[in-house]
Protein backbone atom coordinates (compact mmCIF):
# COMPACT_ATOMS: atom_id res chain seq x y z
CA UNK A 1 0.00 0.00 0.00
CA UNK A 2 1.42 3.42 -0.88
CA UNK A 3 1.60 6.27 1.63
CA UNK A 4 -1.26 8.25 0.09
CA UNK A 5 -3.73 5.37 0.41
CA UNK A 6 -2.56 4.62 3.94
CA UNK A 7 -3.01 8.28 4.91
CA UNK A 8 -6.50 8.27 3.38
CA UNK A 9 -7.47 5.15 5.35
CA UNK A 10 -6.11 6.55 8.61
CA UNK A 11 -7.88 9.87 8.07
CA UNK A 12 -11.33 8.61 7.10
CA UNK A 13 -11.30 5.58 9.41
CA UNK A 14 -10.10 7.68 12.34
CA UNK A 15 -12.73 10.38 11.85
CA UNK A 16 -15.53 7.81 11.65
CA UNK A 17 -14.29 5.90 14.70
CA UNK A 18 -13.91 8.94 16.97
CA UNK A 19 -17.19 10.48 15.82
CA UNK A 20 -19.10 7.33 16.78
CA UNK A 21 -17.42 7.34 20.18
CA UNK A 22 -18.80 10.83 20.76
CA UNK A 23 -15.50 12.71 20.70
CA UNK A 24 -15.71 16.45 19.97
CA UNK A 25 -15.82 16.72 16.16
CA UNK A 26 -12.77 18.98 16.24
CA UNK A 27 -10.78 16.27 18.02
CA UNK A 28 -12.05 13.47 15.75
CA UNK A 29 -10.92 15.50 12.75
CA UNK A 30 -7.75 16.84 14.38
CA UNK A 31 -6.33 13.63 15.80
CA UNK A 32 -7.08 11.62 12.64
CA UNK A 33 -5.54 14.30 10.43
CA UNK A 34 -2.49 14.49 12.69
CA UNK A 35 -2.02 10.72 12.55
CA UNK A 36 -2.37 10.72 8.76
CA UNK A 37 0.07 13.62 8.58
CA UNK A 38 2.59 11.68 10.67
CA UNK A 39 2.21 8.60 8.43
CA UNK A 40 3.14 10.83 5.51
CA UNK A 41 5.74 13.22 6.95
CA UNK A 42 7.13 11.56 10.08
CA UNK A 43 6.55 12.70 13.66
CA UNK A 44 8.79 15.78 13.83
CA UNK A 45 7.49 17.39 10.67
CA UNK A 46 3.97 16.08 11.20
CA UNK A 47 3.41 17.95 14.47
CA UNK A 48 5.09 21.09 13.11
CA UNK A 49 2.99 21.21 9.94
CA UNK A 50 -0.19 20.45 11.89
CA UNK A 51 0.44 23.31 14.31
CA UNK A 52 1.17 25.65 11.40
CA UNK A 53 -2.07 24.60 9.68
CA UNK A 54 -4.18 25.26 12.79
CA UNK A 55 -2.70 28.75 13.06
CA UNK A 56 -2.98 29.42 9.33
CA UNK A 57 -6.59 28.22 9.29
CA UNK A 58 -7.72 30.79 11.87
CA UNK A 59 -5.39 33.54 10.61
CA UNK A 60 -7.98 34.96 8.26
CA UNK A 61 -9.63 38.36 8.13
CA UNK A 62 -12.76 37.14 6.25
CA UNK A 63 -13.39 34.54 8.97
CA UNK A 64 -13.57 37.37 11.49
CA UNK A 65 -17.06 38.20 10.16
CA UNK A 66 -18.40 35.19 12.08
CA UNK A 67 -17.74 36.37 15.66
CA UNK A 68 -19.11 39.79 14.77
CA UNK A 69 -22.31 38.44 13.22
CA UNK A 70 -22.75 36.09 16.19
CA UNK A 71 -22.26 38.98 18.61
CA UNK A 72 -24.70 41.16 16.66
CA UNK A 73 -27.24 38.31 16.89
CA UNK A 74 -26.80 38.06 20.67
CA UNK A 75 -27.29 41.82 21.01
CA UNK A 76 -30.41 41.81 18.80
CA UNK A 77 -31.85 38.93 20.77
CA UNK A 78 -31.57 40.73 24.12
CA UNK A 79 -31.85 44.27 22.81
CA UNK A 80 -35.58 44.37 22.06
CA UNK A 81 -34.98 44.02 18.33
CA UNK A 82 -36.51 40.53 17.95
CA UNK A 83 -39.73 41.71 19.61
CA UNK A 84 -40.09 44.67 17.23
CA UNK A 85 -39.55 42.38 14.25
CA UNK A 86 -42.29 40.01 15.48
CA UNK A 87 -44.71 42.93 15.88
CA UNK A 88 -43.94 44.26 12.42
CA UNK A 89 -44.37 40.79 10.92
CA UNK A 90 -47.76 40.49 12.64
CA UNK A 91 -48.99 43.68 10.96
CA UNK A 92 -47.59 42.59 7.58
CA UNK A 93 -49.34 39.21 7.69
CA UNK A 94 -52.68 40.75 8.66
CA UNK A 95 -55.67 38.44 8.93
CA UNK A 96 -54.57 35.56 6.72
CA UNK A 97 -55.70 32.09 7.86
CA UNK A 98 -53.37 30.93 10.61
CA UNK A 99 -52.04 34.45 10.82
CA UNK A 100 -49.98 33.90 13.98
CA UNK A 101 -48.16 30.93 12.42
CA UNK A 102 -47.59 33.00 9.28
CA UNK A 103 -46.29 35.79 11.51
CA UNK A 104 -43.83 33.35 13.02
CA UNK A 105 -42.48 32.51 9.55
CA UNK A 106 -42.26 36.14 8.49
CA UNK A 107 -40.50 37.05 11.73
CA UNK A 108 -37.97 34.25 11.24
CA UNK A 109 -37.25 35.63 7.77
CA UNK A 110 -36.80 39.17 9.11
CA UNK A 111 -34.58 37.94 11.94
CA UNK A 112 -32.59 35.88 9.45
CA UNK A 113 -32.18 38.93 7.26
CA UNK A 114 -30.57 40.93 10.05
CA UNK A 115 -28.61 38.11 11.73
CA UNK A 116 -26.63 35.15 10.50
CA UNK A 117 -28.01 32.31 12.53
CA UNK A 118 -30.95 29.92 12.38
CA UNK A 119 -30.67 28.67 15.96
CA UNK A 120 -30.85 32.22 17.32
CA UNK A 121 -33.97 32.88 15.23
CA UNK A 122 -35.71 29.72 16.45
CA UNK A 123 -34.99 30.67 20.07
CA UNK A 124 -35.73 34.38 19.88
CA UNK A 125 -38.83 34.29 17.70
CA UNK A 126 -40.22 31.02 19.02
CA UNK A 127 -40.09 32.16 22.63
CA UNK A 128 -41.72 35.49 21.74
CA UNK A 129 -44.61 34.22 19.65
CA UNK A 130 -45.17 30.71 21.01
CA UNK A 131 -47.00 31.85 24.17
CA UNK A 132 -49.32 34.14 22.13
CA UNK A 133 -50.19 31.25 19.82
CA UNK A 134 -50.97 28.97 22.76
CA UNK A 135 -53.35 31.61 24.12
CA UNK A 136 -55.13 31.90 20.76
CA UNK A 137 -55.82 28.16 20.64
CA UNK A 138 -53.07 26.98 18.31
CA UNK A 139 -51.96 23.40 18.62
CA UNK A 140 -48.65 23.62 20.49
CA UNK A 141 -46.87 21.00 18.37
CA UNK A 142 -48.00 22.64 15.16
CA UNK A 143 -46.87 26.06 16.36
CA UNK A 144 -43.45 24.68 17.31
CA UNK A 145 -43.15 22.80 14.01
CA UNK A 146 -43.84 26.02 12.09
CA UNK A 147 -41.17 27.85 14.06
CA UNK A 148 -38.64 25.03 13.62
CA UNK A 149 -39.31 24.52 9.91
CA UNK A 150 -38.97 28.20 9.03
CA UNK A 151 -36.00 29.15 11.25
CA UNK A 152 -33.29 27.70 8.93
CA UNK A 153 -34.34 30.23 6.28
CA UNK A 154 -32.12 32.59 8.29
CA UNK A 155 -29.07 30.50 7.40
CA UNK A 156 -29.82 30.92 3.68
CA UNK A 157 -30.95 34.54 3.71
CA UNK A 158 -27.91 36.83 4.10
CA UNK A 159 -26.01 37.54 6.21
CA UNK A 160 -25.21 33.89 6.85
CA UNK A 161 -22.40 32.54 8.99
CA UNK A 162 -22.54 29.20 7.23
CA UNK A 163 -22.00 30.89 3.84
CA UNK A 164 -18.90 32.57 5.27
CA UNK A 165 -17.53 29.17 6.29
CA UNK A 166 -18.33 27.80 2.84
CA UNK A 167 -16.68 30.74 1.09
CA UNK A 168 -13.56 30.07 3.12
CA UNK A 169 -13.17 26.47 1.92
CA UNK A 170 -14.46 27.02 -1.62
CA UNK A 171 -12.89 30.45 -2.32
CA UNK A 172 -16.26 31.62 -3.69
CA UNK A 173 -17.00 35.29 -3.03
CA UNK A 174 -18.90 35.99 0.20
CA UNK A 175 -20.83 38.87 -1.41
CA UNK A 176 -21.97 36.63 -4.29
CA UNK A 177 -23.00 33.84 -1.90
CA UNK A 178 -24.92 36.31 0.26
CA UNK A 179 -26.90 37.70 -2.64
CA UNK A 180 -27.46 34.23 -4.12
CA UNK A 181 -29.26 33.21 -0.92
CA UNK A 182 -32.14 35.70 -1.19
CA UNK A 183 -34.35 33.85 -3.68
CA UNK A 184 -33.81 30.30 -2.31
CA UNK A 185 -34.29 31.65 1.24
CA UNK A 186 -37.55 33.32 0.23
CA UNK A 187 -38.66 30.05 -1.41
CA UNK A 188 -37.91 28.19 1.81
CA UNK A 189 -40.16 30.57 3.74
CA UNK A 190 -42.84 30.44 1.03
CA UNK A 191 -42.91 26.63 1.22
CA UNK A 192 -43.56 26.85 4.98
CA UNK A 193 -46.28 29.43 4.41
CA UNK A 194 -48.05 27.16 1.93
CA UNK A 195 -48.12 24.33 4.48
CA UNK A 196 -49.49 26.65 7.18
CA UNK A 197 -52.11 27.96 4.74
CA UNK A 198 -53.27 24.43 3.87
CA UNK A 199 -53.47 23.57 7.58
CA UNK A 200 -55.27 26.73 8.67
CA UNK A 201 -57.70 26.96 5.73
CA UNK A 202 -59.95 24.36 7.31
CA UNK A 203 -59.66 25.83 10.79
CA UNK A 204 -61.49 29.19 10.88
CA UNK A 205 -60.91 29.43 14.64
CA UNK A 206 -57.27 30.25 13.89
CA UNK A 207 -58.11 33.67 12.55
CA UNK A 208 -56.52 36.47 14.51
CA UNK A 209 -59.29 38.49 16.08
CA UNK A 210 -57.43 41.44 17.54
CA UNK A 211 -58.34 44.64 15.67
CA UNK A 212 -55.43 46.80 14.61
CA UNK A 213 -56.16 50.32 13.42
CA UNK A 214 -54.20 51.73 10.51
CA UNK A 215 -52.39 54.18 12.78
CA UNK A 216 -51.35 51.39 15.17
CA UNK A 217 -50.16 49.29 12.26
CA UNK A 218 -48.14 52.12 10.79
CA UNK A 219 -46.57 52.85 14.16
CA UNK A 220 -45.60 49.20 14.66
CA UNK A 221 -43.98 48.98 11.23
CA UNK A 222 -42.19 52.29 11.80
CA UNK A 223 -40.75 51.06 15.10
CA UNK A 224 -39.14 48.13 13.25
CA UNK A 225 -37.66 50.34 10.53
CA UNK A 226 -34.40 51.09 12.38
CA UNK A 227 -33.83 47.35 12.84
CA UNK A 228 -34.65 46.59 9.22
CA UNK A 229 -32.45 49.44 8.01
CA UNK A 230 -29.57 47.28 9.20
CA UNK A 231 -30.09 45.16 6.06
CA UNK A 232 -29.62 48.19 3.83
CA UNK A 233 -26.61 49.44 5.75
CA UNK A 234 -24.74 46.13 6.08
CA UNK A 235 -25.63 44.18 2.91
CA UNK A 236 -25.94 47.38 0.84
CA UNK A 237 -22.59 48.62 2.09
CA UNK A 238 -20.89 45.32 1.28
CA UNK A 239 -22.41 45.15 -2.22
CA UNK A 240 -21.61 48.78 -2.97
CA UNK A 241 -18.02 48.14 -1.97
CA UNK A 242 -17.89 50.60 0.93
CA UNK A 243 -16.59 47.88 3.19
CA UNK A 244 -15.68 44.19 3.29
CA UNK A 245 -18.07 41.59 4.74
CA UNK A 246 -15.96 41.55 7.92
CA UNK A 247 -16.19 45.31 8.30
CA UNK A 248 -19.91 45.10 7.53
CA UNK A 249 -20.35 42.56 10.33
CA UNK A 250 -18.55 44.93 12.69
CA UNK A 251 -20.93 47.70 11.69
CA UNK A 252 -23.82 45.32 12.44
CA UNK A 253 -22.44 44.96 16.00
CA UNK A 254 -22.09 48.72 16.56
CA UNK A 255 -25.48 49.42 14.97
CA UNK A 256 -27.41 46.86 17.02
CA UNK A 257 -25.61 48.00 20.16
CA UNK A 258 -26.69 51.60 19.53
CA UNK A 259 -30.28 50.45 18.88
CA UNK A 260 -30.38 48.27 22.01
CA UNK A 261 -29.21 51.23 24.11
CA UNK A 262 -31.69 53.56 22.41
CA UNK A 263 -34.49 51.10 23.28
CA UNK A 264 -33.13 50.98 26.86
CA UNK A 265 -33.26 47.20 26.58
CA UNK A 266 -29.70 46.49 27.80
CA UNK A 267 -27.30 47.95 30.34
CA UNK A 268 -23.54 48.43 30.01
CA UNK A 269 -23.07 45.84 32.75
CA UNK A 270 -24.61 43.18 30.46
CA UNK A 271 -22.01 43.65 27.73
CA UNK A 272 -19.31 41.34 29.16
CA UNK A 273 -21.84 38.48 29.38
CA UNK A 274 -22.88 39.04 25.75
CA UNK A 275 -19.26 39.14 24.60
CA UNK A 276 -18.58 35.91 26.46
CA UNK A 277 -21.64 34.14 24.99
CA UNK A 278 -20.62 35.12 21.49
CA UNK A 279 -16.99 34.16 22.19
CA UNK A 280 -18.04 30.65 23.27
CA UNK A 281 -20.11 29.98 20.14
CA UNK A 282 -17.42 31.40 17.88
CA UNK A 283 -14.49 29.59 19.49
CA UNK A 284 -16.09 26.22 18.85
CA UNK A 285 -16.33 27.12 15.17
CA UNK A 286 -12.84 28.65 15.00
CA UNK A 287 -11.24 25.60 16.53
CA UNK A 288 -13.04 23.43 13.99
CA UNK A 289 -11.87 25.65 11.14
CA UNK A 290 -8.30 25.45 12.44
CA UNK A 291 -8.16 21.66 12.70
CA UNK A 292 -10.02 21.29 9.40
CA UNK A 293 -7.16 23.06 7.73
CA UNK A 294 -4.86 20.20 8.88
CA UNK A 295 -7.38 17.88 7.28
CA UNK A 296 -7.43 19.93 4.07
CA UNK A 297 -3.65 19.51 3.82
CA UNK A 298 -3.82 15.75 4.37
CA UNK A 299 -6.78 15.32 2.04
CA UNK A 300 -5.03 16.72 -0.96
CA UNK A 301 -1.92 14.70 -0.09
CA UNK A 302 -3.99 11.51 0.24
CA UNK A 303 -5.78 12.31 -3.04
CA UNK A 304 -9.17 11.84 -1.37
CA UNK A 305 -11.09 14.26 -3.64
CA UNK A 306 -9.76 12.37 -6.67
CA UNK A 307 -10.76 9.03 -5.14
CA UNK A 308 -14.24 10.34 -4.32
CA UNK A 309 -14.85 11.69 -7.81
CA UNK A 310 -13.63 8.43 -9.34
CA UNK A 311 -16.05 6.50 -7.13
CA UNK A 312 -18.97 8.78 -7.95
CA UNK A 313 -18.33 8.87 -11.69
CA UNK A 314 -18.21 5.08 -11.59
CA UNK A 315 -21.83 5.07 -10.39
CA UNK A 316 -22.95 7.33 -13.23
CA UNK A 317 -21.73 10.13 -15.46
CA UNK A 318 -25.17 11.65 -15.72
CA UNK A 319 -25.06 15.07 -13.96
CA UNK A 320 -28.65 14.72 -12.74
CA UNK A 321 -27.91 11.38 -11.09
CA UNK A 322 -24.67 12.67 -9.57
CA UNK A 323 -26.34 15.80 -8.15
CA UNK A 324 -29.15 13.74 -6.65
CA UNK A 325 -26.63 11.32 -5.20
CA UNK A 326 -24.67 14.18 -3.60
CA UNK A 327 -27.90 15.72 -2.31
CA UNK A 328 -28.93 12.44 -0.66
CA UNK A 329 -25.46 12.00 0.86
CA UNK A 330 -25.60 15.56 2.23
CA UNK A 331 -29.12 15.03 3.61
CA UNK A 332 -28.02 11.89 5.45
CA UNK A 333 -24.82 13.54 6.68
CA UNK A 334 -26.85 16.55 7.78
CA UNK A 335 -29.02 14.32 9.94
CA UNK A 336 -25.99 13.22 11.95
CA UNK A 337 -23.73 16.23 11.82
CA UNK A 338 -23.89 19.95 12.48
CA UNK A 339 -23.71 22.06 9.35
CA UNK A 340 -20.40 23.84 10.05
CA UNK A 341 -18.18 20.74 10.33
CA UNK A 342 -20.09 19.17 7.43
CA UNK A 343 -19.27 22.14 5.21
CA UNK A 344 -15.63 22.09 6.33
CA UNK A 345 -15.19 18.36 5.74
CA UNK A 346 -17.25 17.73 2.60
CA UNK A 347 -16.79 20.86 0.48
CA UNK A 348 -13.23 19.87 -0.54
CA UNK A 349 -14.53 16.41 -1.51
CA UNK A 350 -17.65 17.35 -3.50
CA UNK A 351 -16.77 20.73 -4.97
CA UNK A 352 -14.20 19.42 -7.51
CA UNK A 353 -16.74 16.85 -8.71
CA UNK A 354 -19.51 19.34 -9.36
CA UNK A 355 -17.25 22.01 -10.85
CA UNK A 356 -16.02 19.34 -13.28
CA UNK A 357 -19.65 19.04 -14.38
CA UNK A 358 -19.87 22.79 -14.95
CA UNK A 359 -21.70 23.75 -11.74
CA UNK A 360 -20.79 27.14 -10.33
CA UNK A 361 -19.28 27.09 -6.80
CA UNK A 362 -21.86 29.69 -5.69
CA UNK A 363 -24.75 27.53 -6.86
CA UNK A 364 -23.26 24.49 -5.15
CA UNK A 365 -22.79 26.54 -1.97
CA UNK A 366 -26.49 27.38 -1.87
CA UNK A 367 -27.36 23.75 -2.56
CA UNK A 368 -25.06 22.53 0.19
CA UNK A 369 -26.28 25.05 2.78
CA UNK A 370 -29.93 24.21 2.00
CA UNK A 371 -29.23 20.51 2.20
CA UNK A 372 -27.50 20.82 5.55
CA UNK A 373 -30.14 23.26 6.80
CA UNK A 374 -32.73 20.52 6.43
CA UNK A 375 -30.40 18.45 8.61
CA UNK A 376 -30.68 21.03 11.40
CA UNK A 377 -34.38 20.21 11.83
CA UNK A 378 -34.11 16.41 11.63
CA UNK A 379 -33.22 13.96 14.40
CA UNK A 380 -30.95 12.56 15.79
CA UNK A 381 -28.69 15.65 15.57
CA UNK A 382 -30.86 18.67 14.85
CA UNK A 383 -29.87 21.81 16.74
CA UNK A 384 -32.81 23.91 15.51
CA UNK A 385 -35.24 21.06 16.20
CA UNK A 386 -33.93 20.77 19.77
CA UNK A 387 -33.98 24.50 20.49
CA UNK A 388 -37.40 24.94 18.92
CA UNK A 389 -38.89 22.07 20.93
CA UNK A 390 -37.21 23.34 24.08
CA UNK A 391 -38.56 26.90 23.87
CA UNK A 392 -42.03 25.47 23.12
CA UNK A 393 -41.66 22.99 26.01
CA UNK A 394 -42.85 19.93 24.10
CA UNK A 395 -41.39 16.52 23.26
CA UNK A 396 -39.33 16.06 20.09
CA UNK A 397 -41.54 13.13 18.94
CA UNK A 398 -44.67 15.32 18.95
CA UNK A 399 -43.04 17.97 16.78
CA UNK A 400 -41.63 15.49 14.27
CA UNK A 401 -45.08 14.25 13.28
CA UNK A 402 -46.16 17.85 12.59
CA UNK A 403 -42.92 18.57 10.76
CA UNK A 404 -43.53 15.90 8.09
CA UNK A 405 -45.55 18.07 5.64
CA UNK A 406 -42.93 20.81 6.02
CA UNK A 407 -40.15 18.33 5.18
CA UNK A 408 -41.93 17.36 1.97
CA UNK A 409 -42.39 20.99 0.93
CA UNK A 410 -38.76 21.81 1.72
CA UNK A 411 -37.52 18.83 -0.29
CA UNK A 412 -39.49 20.12 -3.27
CA UNK A 413 -37.80 23.52 -2.86
CA UNK A 414 -34.40 21.84 -2.54
CA UNK A 415 -34.88 19.90 -5.78
CA UNK A 416 -35.98 23.11 -7.54
CA UNK A 417 -32.90 24.97 -6.31
CA UNK A 418 -30.56 22.15 -7.28
CA UNK A 419 -31.85 21.83 -10.84
CA UNK A 420 -32.61 25.48 -11.56
CA UNK A 421 -29.25 27.26 -11.31
CA UNK A 422 -30.94 30.56 -12.15
CA UNK A 423 -32.66 30.65 -8.75
CA UNK A 424 -29.26 31.07 -7.12
CA UNK A 425 -27.26 32.64 -9.92
CA UNK A 426 -29.64 35.22 -11.43
CA UNK A 427 -29.34 37.84 -8.68
CA UNK A 428 -25.53 37.73 -8.28
CA UNK A 429 -25.15 37.77 -12.07
CA UNK A 430 -27.35 40.87 -12.32
CA UNK A 431 -25.15 42.57 -9.74
CA UNK A 432 -21.95 41.53 -11.55
CA UNK A 433 -20.75 39.52 -8.56
CA UNK A 434 -20.08 36.33 -10.54
CA UNK A 435 -18.88 35.49 -14.00
CA UNK A 436 -20.99 32.52 -15.03
Amino acid sequence: MDTATLAALVLLGGIALFLIMGAPISIAVGLSSLTAMITALGVENGVLTSAQQVFRGINSFPLLAIPFFVLAGVIMNQGGIALRLVNAAKVMVGKAPGSLAQTNIAANVLFGAVSGSGVAAAAAIGSTIGPIQAKEGYNKSFAAATNIASAPAGMIIPPSNLMIVYSLVSSASVAALFVAGYIPGAMWAAACMVIVYLYARKRPELKYTEKITFAQGARTILSAVPALALIVVVIGGILAGYFTPTEGSNIAVIYSLVLAFAYRAIKVSQIPKMLLDAARTTSVVMFLVGVSSIMGFVMSFAKIPAMASEAIFKVSDNPVVILLLIAVILLVLGMFMDPTPAVLIFTPIFLPIVTAMGIHPVHFGIMMVMNLSIGTITPPVGPILFVGAKVADIAIEDVIRRLMPFFLALLVVLVMVIFTPGLSMWLPTQLDLVTP
Binding site: L71, V284, D338
Partner: protein, 167 residues
Protein backbone atom coordinates in the same frame (compact mmCIF):
# COMPACT_ATOMS: atom_id res chain seq x y z
CA UNK B 1 -7.84 21.01 41.48
CA UNK B 2 -11.31 22.55 41.65
CA UNK B 3 -9.95 25.83 42.95
CA UNK B 4 -7.37 25.94 40.17
CA UNK B 5 -10.06 25.27 37.57
CA UNK B 6 -12.35 27.98 38.90
CA UNK B 7 -9.48 30.45 38.94
CA UNK B 8 -8.45 29.52 35.40
CA UNK B 9 -12.05 29.79 34.19
CA UNK B 10 -12.25 33.34 35.50
CA UNK B 11 -8.93 34.41 33.97
CA UNK B 12 -9.91 32.93 30.61
CA UNK B 13 -13.35 34.54 30.66
CA UNK B 14 -11.80 37.89 31.42
CA UNK B 15 -9.24 37.39 28.64
CA UNK B 16 -11.97 36.50 26.13
CA UNK B 17 -14.10 39.52 27.04
CA UNK B 18 -11.15 41.92 26.81
CA UNK B 19 -9.80 40.45 23.55
CA UNK B 20 -13.26 40.52 21.96
CA UNK B 21 -13.95 44.08 23.06
CA UNK B 22 -10.61 45.30 21.68
CA UNK B 23 -11.34 43.38 18.47
CA UNK B 24 -14.67 45.17 17.98
CA UNK B 25 -13.09 48.56 18.58
CA UNK B 26 -10.11 47.78 16.32
CA UNK B 27 -12.20 46.86 13.26
CA UNK B 28 -14.60 49.76 13.90
CA UNK B 29 -11.55 52.01 13.92
CA UNK B 30 -10.43 50.50 10.61
CA UNK B 31 -13.71 51.44 8.90
CA UNK B 32 -13.78 54.86 10.56
CA UNK B 33 -10.20 55.69 9.60
CA UNK B 34 -10.77 54.78 5.98
CA UNK B 35 -14.30 56.05 5.34
CA UNK B 36 -14.39 59.10 7.61
CA UNK B 37 -10.81 60.23 8.15
CA UNK B 38 -9.77 59.05 4.69
CA UNK B 39 -6.56 57.66 6.21
CA UNK B 40 -6.54 53.86 5.93
CA UNK B 41 -4.95 52.24 8.96
CA UNK B 42 -1.82 50.23 8.29
CA UNK B 43 -2.02 47.98 11.33
CA UNK B 44 -5.66 47.40 12.25
CA UNK B 45 -6.24 44.37 10.00
CA UNK B 46 -3.10 42.59 11.16
CA UNK B 47 -3.88 43.33 14.80
CA UNK B 48 -7.43 42.07 14.28
CA UNK B 49 -6.25 38.74 12.90
CA UNK B 50 -3.91 38.09 15.82
CA UNK B 51 -6.44 39.20 18.46
CA UNK B 52 -8.87 36.84 16.79
CA UNK B 53 -6.47 33.88 16.92
CA UNK B 54 -5.83 34.44 20.63
CA UNK B 55 -9.56 34.87 21.26
CA UNK B 56 -10.41 31.73 19.28
CA UNK B 57 -7.83 29.55 21.02
CA UNK B 58 -8.52 30.85 24.54
CA UNK B 59 -12.25 30.53 23.92
CA UNK B 60 -11.73 26.98 22.68
CA UNK B 61 -9.81 26.17 25.88
CA UNK B 62 -12.62 27.62 28.00
CA UNK B 63 -15.18 25.51 26.14
CA UNK B 64 -13.03 22.37 26.65
CA UNK B 65 -13.24 23.20 30.35
CA UNK B 66 -17.04 23.09 30.02
CA UNK B 67 -16.98 19.99 27.75
CA UNK B 68 -19.00 22.10 25.35
CA UNK B 69 -17.45 21.31 21.96
CA UNK B 70 -19.91 19.93 19.45
CA UNK B 71 -19.93 16.16 19.30
CA UNK B 72 -22.14 13.46 17.84
CA UNK B 73 -23.00 11.53 20.98
CA UNK B 74 -26.25 9.71 20.25
CA UNK B 75 -24.38 6.40 19.74
CA UNK B 76 -22.37 6.75 22.97
CA UNK B 77 -25.60 7.46 24.89
CA UNK B 78 -26.97 4.05 23.88
CA UNK B 79 -24.08 2.22 25.56
CA UNK B 80 -24.44 0.65 29.02
CA UNK B 81 -23.04 2.73 31.86
CA UNK B 82 -19.66 0.96 31.96
CA UNK B 83 -19.26 1.27 28.20
CA UNK B 84 -20.04 4.98 28.39
CA UNK B 85 -17.31 5.44 30.94
CA UNK B 86 -14.72 3.53 28.94
CA UNK B 87 -15.55 5.51 25.80
CA UNK B 88 -15.47 8.81 27.71
CA UNK B 89 -12.00 8.01 29.03
CA UNK B 90 -10.76 7.13 25.52
CA UNK B 91 -12.21 10.40 24.22
CA UNK B 92 -10.47 12.46 26.90
CA UNK B 93 -7.21 10.66 26.10
CA UNK B 94 -7.73 11.53 22.42
CA UNK B 95 -8.14 15.20 23.35
CA UNK B 96 -4.97 14.99 25.43
CA UNK B 97 -2.97 13.36 22.62
CA UNK B 98 -4.04 15.87 19.99
CA UNK B 99 -3.45 18.82 22.28
CA UNK B 100 -0.08 17.57 23.49
CA UNK B 101 1.29 16.79 20.06
CA UNK B 102 -0.16 19.53 17.87
CA UNK B 103 -0.82 22.52 20.10
CA UNK B 104 1.97 22.10 22.66
CA UNK B 105 4.80 20.27 20.88
CA UNK B 106 4.06 21.51 17.34
CA UNK B 107 3.17 24.95 18.68
CA UNK B 108 6.49 25.35 20.51
CA UNK B 109 8.38 24.29 17.38
CA UNK B 110 6.48 26.77 15.19
CA UNK B 111 7.03 29.59 17.66
CA UNK B 112 10.76 28.75 17.77
CA UNK B 113 11.13 28.73 14.00
CA UNK B 114 9.36 32.05 13.55
CA UNK B 115 10.75 33.70 16.69
CA UNK B 116 12.65 36.49 14.93
CA UNK B 117 10.42 36.80 11.86
CA UNK B 118 9.17 40.38 11.40
CA UNK B 119 5.61 41.57 10.91
CA UNK B 120 5.08 44.52 8.61
CA UNK B 121 2.36 46.40 10.46
CA UNK B 122 2.95 45.65 14.14
CA UNK B 123 5.91 46.25 16.47
CA UNK B 124 6.17 42.54 17.44
CA UNK B 125 7.63 39.45 15.80
CA UNK B 126 5.54 36.54 14.56
CA UNK B 127 7.10 34.00 16.93
CA UNK B 128 5.63 35.27 20.20
CA UNK B 129 2.19 35.43 18.56
CA UNK B 130 2.44 31.70 17.87
CA UNK B 131 2.68 31.18 21.63
CA UNK B 132 -1.14 31.21 21.60
CA UNK B 133 -0.86 27.58 20.43
CA UNK B 134 1.20 26.09 23.29
CA UNK B 135 -0.45 28.29 25.94
CA UNK B 136 -3.96 27.27 24.94
CA UNK B 137 -2.62 23.71 24.58
CA UNK B 138 -1.46 23.62 28.20
CA UNK B 139 -4.81 25.00 29.35
CA UNK B 140 -6.75 22.42 27.35
CA UNK B 141 -4.47 19.66 28.69
CA UNK B 142 -5.17 20.79 32.25
CA UNK B 143 -8.94 20.85 31.70
CA UNK B 144 -8.81 17.43 30.06
CA UNK B 145 -6.90 15.87 32.96
CA UNK B 146 -9.38 17.51 35.32
CA UNK B 147 -12.31 15.87 33.52
CA UNK B 148 -10.45 12.58 33.20
CA UNK B 149 -9.92 12.40 36.97
CA UNK B 150 -13.55 13.29 37.64
CA UNK B 151 -14.91 10.76 35.15
CA UNK B 152 -12.71 8.02 36.65
CA UNK B 153 -13.75 8.90 40.20
CA UNK B 154 -17.41 9.05 39.17
CA UNK B 155 -17.80 12.73 40.10
CA UNK B 156 -18.87 13.56 36.57
CA UNK B 157 -21.19 11.72 34.18
CA UNK B 158 -19.53 10.10 31.18
CA UNK B 159 -21.78 11.65 28.54
CA UNK B 160 -22.53 15.33 29.02
CA UNK B 161 -25.84 16.96 28.25
CA UNK B 162 -24.54 19.44 25.75
CA UNK B 163 -26.46 22.55 24.76
CA UNK B 164 -26.77 22.99 20.99
CA UNK B 165 -24.35 25.76 20.15
CA UNK B 166 -23.96 26.15 16.42
CA UNK B 167 -24.18 28.89 13.85
Amino acid sequence: MNAVKNGLDRVLMLACVVLFAVLVVDVAWQVFARQVLDQPSGWSEELAKYLFIWLGLFGAALVFGERGHIAVDFAARKLPRVGQRVVAVVVQLAVLTFTGMTLIWGGIRVANLAWAQNLTGLPVNVGPLYLALPISGVLIAFYTIYHLVRILSGAESAVEDAEPDVL
